[in-house]
């Protein structure tokens, strides 16, 4: 950049401060030769240098310029708002109060700020609150009880179907046998047994009652039974059909279908003498405390047991009808008070349950757990076949017990 009449001041300044190069200094002097009217101005620069500052010249009230974090007239509004907002610490609040004491004219401002606190109008409420709520799927604190009941009912219905599929011929009919009345033995007989027995009714009716002392009284004429080598139809007990039992009030539930005749048909015919020996042997096998349905099945299993069927036990020669008679007599006494509760109480550990029963057992356990013991479901299973024998459904103090085994 060349020196000219517009910028010569900066060249003069640079020359006097000693920052102008030799080449530019030569150019500066050439410019002054061409413009002699500026020579005086150039030379006057030297006379404008300031003298050195006097170190004793000090500002007398320097401390007043420092911020002391105390309220004053210029900051009092901020302090008052801060007080109202709760932003002051104890020390600052004390400083403010001290200032207000010294300057009471700000008390009015303080009172006005206190009034700026706005309050919500609680009478204004959202009108459509119910529309905002969402249905809760799953268990909630309030609804858990109802969901548990609903789940229980569903599971119970499911269990009913499972039971039905396992016991296709379970009848729901019941028979009342009162103390003063008599009942026919076939009312508690397996259904499959009855039709076969009916074939024998015309010729082999035995009107003799079975005594309740567990000893069957079989007339001599009826002790001549056909050989067990005959077919099943000819093997069925003549004493079973129309046998009259003196019992107490019997609330007889439906009797399960049992393939009893098939088992008994394999046995040999027993003589009256043998029966006299056999019956006492059977009696101890019928545990009074054991539900009949369980006892009956256990006994039938025992009959086929190789140990039980040893010749020396004479059970191998047991006449099936007599055995049945004995069993039914026991049944008549037992059915009366064999309830679902008895089955539940008598049911011990069942070694191996079928899949359906395991499902039911799990469902019962789940209901009890999910409902936090508000709903209690108990189950009992037949120790022989593992099928559901009884269940109990309790909600609070209400309780329903049903037996599915009869």
């Amino acid at each position: 950049m060349n020196i000219n009449t517009s910028n010569y001041e900066s060249w003069f300044l640079d020359y006097h401060e000693g920052t102008l190069s030799a080449e530019n200094s030569a150019e500066l002097f050439l410019f002054l030769e061409q413009h002699p009217e500026l020579k005086e101005e150039f030379e006057s620069f030297e006379m404008m240098m300031l003298p050195a500052a006097d170190p004793t010249d000090l500002f007398p009230d320097k401390i007043s310029l420092k911020k002391n974090n105390l309220p004053d007239a210029t900051t009092i509004q901020d302090w008052l708002i801060a007080e109202m907002e709760g932003d002051l610490n104890l020390q600052q609040r004390a400083a403010l109060l001290s200032f207000l004491e010294a300057s009471p004219e700000y008390q009015k401002d303080r009172a006005l700020y206190a009034k700026t606190k706005i309050e919500a109008n609680a009478s204004i409420q959202f009108p459509n609150k119910s529309k905002l709520r969402k249905p809760v799927i799953g268990a909630s604190v309030e609804n858990r009880w109802y969901y548990a009941v609903a789940a229980s009912l569903i599971l119970l219905i499911g269990a009913w179907f499972v039971i039905n599929s396992m016991h296709p011929k379970v009848s729901t009919e019941t028979a009342e046998i009162t103390k003063d009345s008599t009942t026919q033995i076939d009312s508690i007989l397996p259904e499959s047994f009855a039709p076969v027995a009916e074939k024998q009714i015309a010729n082999q009716v035995d009107p003799t009652p079975v005594l309740p002392n567990n000893k069957s009284v079989v007339p001599a004429s009826e002790k001549q039974y056909p050989s067990t080598t005959q077919k099943l139809a000819n093997q069925v007990s003549p004493v079973v059909k129309n046998q009259i039992l003196p019992t107490e009030k019997i609330k007889s539930a439906p009797v399960n279908h049992l393939p009893l005749e098939n088992k008994l048909a394999l046995q040999n015919t027993a003589t009256p003498q043998q029966l006299d020996l056999i019956v006492p042997r059977i009696t101890p096998m019928l545990d009074e405390s054991e539900p009949f349905v369980f006892a009956e099945r256990r006994l039938i299993h025992s009959i086929n047991d190789p140990i039980v069927t040893k010749p020396e036990n004479n059970l191998a020669n047991m006449q099936p009808a007599t055995l049945m008679n004995e069993l039914k007599e026991k049944a008549a006494n037992k059915v009366n008070h064999t309830t679902g509760e008895d089955l539940l109480a008598a049911n011990g550990e069942t070694p191996k349950l079928p899949a359906g029963s395991r499902l039911i057992k799990f469902a019962a356990w789940t209901i009890t757990k999910v409902s936090d013991d508000r709903i209690k479901v108990k189950t009992a299973f037949d120790p022989n076949d593992g099928k559901l024998a009884a269940y109990e459904f309790a909600i609070g103090k209400s309780k329903w017990t049903r037996s599915t085994a009869f």
Binding site: Q77, D78, I81, M84, E85, K108, D109, L112, Y113, K115, T116, K117, I118, E119, A120, N121, A122, I124, Q125, F126, P127, N128, K129, K131, L132, R133, K134, P135, V136, I137, G138, S140, V141
Partner: protein, 161 residues
């Protein structure tokens, strides 16, 4: 947050959010829409929102939904007209609350929002900052300005009365 907790939020916060929005936009129909929108948004994200943050989430959502509506309303030229005509200054005061309501209505939008969050809901500067997406210093400045304006308004009215 579970559905049960969501329903609990409805009980606890629906009224507060509604009041907050209503006092800002002064239109009950729009306020209802905004509250419903806010809860719908919360329901959509219910599994991602903690119960502790639910209130803050609601106010944040409602605040920004409200701002969107206000901006749209301003473009349409309707909100300002409604606001000015329905809530113009009245000289018939029945008490401090009414004076304060008038003063609040005259505050700039952002000042009104922050001071309502502060006084109605008791939020801290930091929480208000999260809701309004301002930093803490800005929140503080707006609240201070709002207090100052309210105090000036109340002082003038009291002088007149």
């Amino acid at each position: 947050m579970s559905p049960e907790q969501y329903n609990e939020c409805v009980e606890l916060h629906a009224d507060g959010v509604y009041r907050f929005v209503l006092h800002n936009i002064r239109d009950s129909e729009q306020a209802r829409d905004i509250v419903q929108d806010s809860f719908e948004k919360m329901w959509i994200n219910v599994s991602n929102i903690s119960h502790e943050k639910s209130k803050s989430y609601l106010f944040t959502t409602a605040y920004h939904t409200m701002l969107d509506k206000i901006r749209r309303g301003k473009k349409q030229g309707s909100w300002d007209e409604v606001a000015q005509s329905q809530y113009s200054h009245s000289k018939q005061y029945s008490g401090l609350k009414e004076i304060l309501r008038e003063a609040l209505d005259r505050l700039p939008e952002i000042q009104r929002s922050v001071i309502m969050l502060r006084d109605y809901e008791g939020y801290s500067y930091e929480e208000i900052g999260e809701i309004t997406r301002l930093n803490e210093s800005q929140v503080k400045v707006y609240i201070y300005r709002a207090r100052l304006a309210l105090k000036e308004y109340i002082g003038k009215i009291e002088n007149v009365i």
